[in-house]
């Protein structure tokens, strides 16, 4: 069943189609939500809210974009609103003071991967979401523009700045580790 058939089946009240739609896109929604919120209960609740909103607004979806992009737009808005409500969006990119725990500064490949995630979690909400959409979900610039409502230049700037900052911190930490040895 393609997305168009799936949407029409859900609109006609087909419960199994609704389950299929949730199954198909729950990973995308969970990833976006998990990057913004740390508490598992809040994460579950927000994911629920996203799918309830998707179902509520599905009749307005006119296939101008991919269904995944449209669902990601709803998830993005709800996640950003949640962050605002919980005052999680007060972090300014330039003033982020990264907390680096000693145990995380081991530079084996797998450890570094975990270390990168640890650093990303400390970035401002918009940066985290743009990074997730680009690297984890594989969305391209025009789709991220549609999802976030940011100009393409801003999206590219966020990705560039975030990656550069991560690189600087990791290189600094690696240098410190070498000095200690």
């Amino acid at each position: 069943m393609n997305d168009r058939q799936l949407v029409n089946a859900v609109l006609s009240g087909d419960e199994s189609a609704l389950r299929t739609l949730i199954a198909k896109y729950e990973r995308l929604v969970a990833h976006m939500v998990a990057r913004v919120i740390n508490n598992d209960l809040d994460r579950e609740e927000l994911c629920q809210d996203v799918f309830i909103k998707v179902h509520e607004k599905l009749h307005t979806f006119n296939f101008d974009s991919k269904l995944s992009t449209w669902i990601a737009t709803i998830a993005y808005r709800l996640a950003v609103n949640f962050a605002k409500k919980k005052k999680l969006d007060k972090v300014d990119f330039d003033s982020v003071e990264f907390q680096i725990e000693d145990e995380q500064t081991s530079f084996e490949d797998e450890d570094l991967s975990r270390f990168v995630v640890h650093l990303v979690n400390q970035l401002p909400v918009n940066y985290k979401l743009v990074l997730t959409l680009f690297y984890l979900e594989g969305f391209r610039y025009p789709e991220i523009v549609e999802i976030t409502g940011m100009p393409e230049g801003t999206v590219k700037n966020y990705l560039h700045r975030a990656k550069n900052k991560l690189k600087i911190i990791i290189e600094e930490s690696a240098r410190k580790e070498v000095e200690l040895i």
Binding site: A9, H31, L136
Partner: protein, 109 residues
């Protein structure tokens, strides 16, 4: 390090969050959506009923006001028709949803 730092950063960025939705997530969402739909439907029928009652009341009021006291007595025979008309409005709305709209969307699917 076997890979260069940029590759490792990208690998880290591509790694999935540890969080996983509970096994009954879909069931819960579907249940909540159905509950919401039922609530909305009940509200819709309630509004229709209230609208019909209000219309009948207004009609009776107008007849009383312009026709003088006791003028409704001559219209007693119309009351069952008025009630039937109200019921018909609700029935048409219900059949429209169940037979026309649902079938239309099923055909599209």
């Amino acid at each position: 390090m076997k890979k260069n730092i940029e590759e490792l950063i990208e690998e880290g960025l591509k790694s999935e969050p540890v969080f996983q939705l509970k096994a009954d997530f879909r069931d819960r969402v579907v249940r909540m959506i159905k509950k919401k739909e039922q609530k909305a439907q009940r509200r819709f029928y309630l509004l229709i009923t209230a609208g019909v009652v209000l219309l009948l009341g207004a009609g009776a009021g107008i007849l009383q006001y312009f026709g003088g006291a006791g003028s409704l007595s001559g219209y007693d025979q119309f009351i069952p028709y008025a009630v039937m008309f109200g019921g018909l409005v609700v029935l048409v709305q219900y059949l429209d949803k169940k037979l026309v709209k649902d079938k239309f969307f099923k055909q599209l699917a």
